[in-house]
């Protein structure tokens, strides 16, 4: 069940890291309505992360970092708070530091377009936990995508300034889009077994959705090439950007200071 564990971990880490970044918007959004909407998205993803990390830990407990014997930390928290950056398997798109509102809109659009396509297929997973997470997640992520698409078009057609910012966000994030569709060995085996979804198989569906949103915003697909990996690996292999370890320094600080703490 090692491949199920790493597969769940990747889906869970995506949700966790994305949630952490979006939650940074709390009390910082352009207006109350967007503050609430972004918090909602962060909450939904956090919920998905908890279930997926727990699934991962149950599938292969050797992934869970060792803690003192008397530590009451549950496995999904041990995974979230006691792994180092090198052990996170999220795609790099999710970890980029918080930018402006155009950036978060674009990031949520790209992420949820991809994730929705994956979850839609994952609903028929033979793993009942994954199937259940996907069934619930489809509704949530569809809402995230709609929120992001609506704002994406609004910013694209709003003012010169908003269009300039949106384009800058899109060009900045575009190099991270292809990584989401990379197949890993685990993915293929799991897909063949009817448990997981091979990311490459949802590429066309995701691209179609994105093209529609781009067209509504009177925009072309951007040009920048994909971001190189590091030593042949990307986020899924634990090869991240410099931003992730800094994000984790904050996220894990209280938990690591009190490894025997009860919360």
């Amino acid at each position: 069940a090692a491949d199920l564990a790493t597969y769940s971990l990747a889906l869970g880490d995506d949700a966790l890291v994305m949630s952490q970044r979006i939650a940074e918007w709390c009390s910082n959004a352009p207006d109350l309505e967007e503050d609430i909407a972004l918090a909602n998205i962060a909450l939904d993803l956090l919920g998905q992360a908890r279930l997926l990390l727990a699934r991962s830990a149950r599938a292969d407990s050797s992934l869970v970092p060792a803690l003192p014997d008397d530590s009451p930390v549950p496995p999904e928290d041990a995974l979230a708070f006691f792994r180092e950056a090198r052990e996170f398997r999220n795609a790099r798109l999710t970890e980029v530091p918080r930018g402006d509102f155009a950036e978060v809109v674009t990031r949520v659009l790209l992420f949820s377009t991809w994730r929705l396509a994956v979850l839609e297929q994952l609903r028929s997973s033979r793993d009942t936990v994954l199937a259940a997470v996907a069934a619930k997640g489809v509704k949530e992520v569809a809402y995230h995508r709609d929120f992001a698409a609506r704002w994406f078009v609004t910013l694209a057609l709003g003012t010169e300034e908003s269009r300039r910012r949106l384009l800058s966000a899109l060009h900045g994030l575009w190099p991270l889009w292809p990584e989401l569709f990379d197949d890993h060995a685990d993915d293929l085996a799991l897909a063949a077994a009817g448990v997981g979804v091979a990311p490459s198989t949802v590429r066309d569906a995701a691209d179609d959705v994105l093209d529609e949103v781009l067209a509504a915003g009177e925009l072309e697909r951007p040009a920048p090439a994909r971001l190189s990996g590091v030593n042949g690996g990307t986020g899924r292999d634990g090869m991240h950007t410099e931003a992730l370890s800094l994000m984790l320094a904050e996220m894990q600080s209280v938990a690591r200071t009190h490894p025997r703490g009860q919360w």
Binding site: S27, L32, L157, R165, W263
Partner: protein, 314 residues
Amino acid sequence: MLQEHFDATIARNDRIEPRDWMPDAYRATLVRQVAQHAHSEIIGMQPEGSWIGRAPSLRRKAILLAKVQDEAGHGLYLYSATETLGVSRDELTEMLLSGRQKYSSIFNYPTLTFADVGTIGWLVDGAAICNQVPLCRTSYGPYGRAMIRICKEESFHQRQGYELLMTMMRGTDEQRAMVQESVDRFWWPSLMMFGPPDADSPNTARSMAWGIKRNTNDELRQKFVDMSVPQAEALGVTLPDPDLRWNEERGHHDFGQPDWEHFMQVVKGNGPCNAQRLAHRQRAHDDGAWVREAAMAFARRSEQERATTERAAS
């Protein structure tokens, strides 16, 4: 005639509604009070918000994020209530940022440890509930109805805060010390949340006559102390007041007075976080200006397109 109708409604504890006539002073007092409450919700997102990123378990992170989100929601209802009094959210935001309207002074204290998340839930939300439950029966309809919803959520937050402290008290020695230290810091500011002693609160009488307020500051403060003492015992923390003891005769706890001079300093803007809180709000507001402009431009554009389409169709 109008005044009589208004007085009669108040007298029979009935609600004034937006379409009803009301005295200018009543309207102004309400606007000030509801706006201050709304601002408090919005500014109150900051002290706890800074711990969302560091919450030490996924469950606590979700609870905290949901709570801070609820505060934004409360701000939203309350700004809507002021809109029924003819004042827009934009105007009130301007008043907040320019310092002409206040927010609760409790949010001018810093959150220094994760235990503060629990203490704010227990004591600060607890005090807020004491203040707010009577406001569910306030004379202005939209405000009272907003308060009913808010109070329900606030008591949920209070229970969650208390439960966090309870859990931490079952943890390590360091965690217990953290809880006690947090309670030491928040106890007195919580007592100050009820406002100055009745003798120094000139507006209370009129607000009570109008049914905007339902209890005096000192009554509510007493209620809060009486409620908190057994909770502190159950928790296993000491409240930092050497004068705190049960008074059999009064059937209430006696307790010491907060440092009101310090309180006035904080109200006047010299609290530990006043400048920080307003600067944060101002920055978020400024950073969002281009987004709000884009949304308006897009709405105008869509409107024009619709008009063009309709003309073409007609």
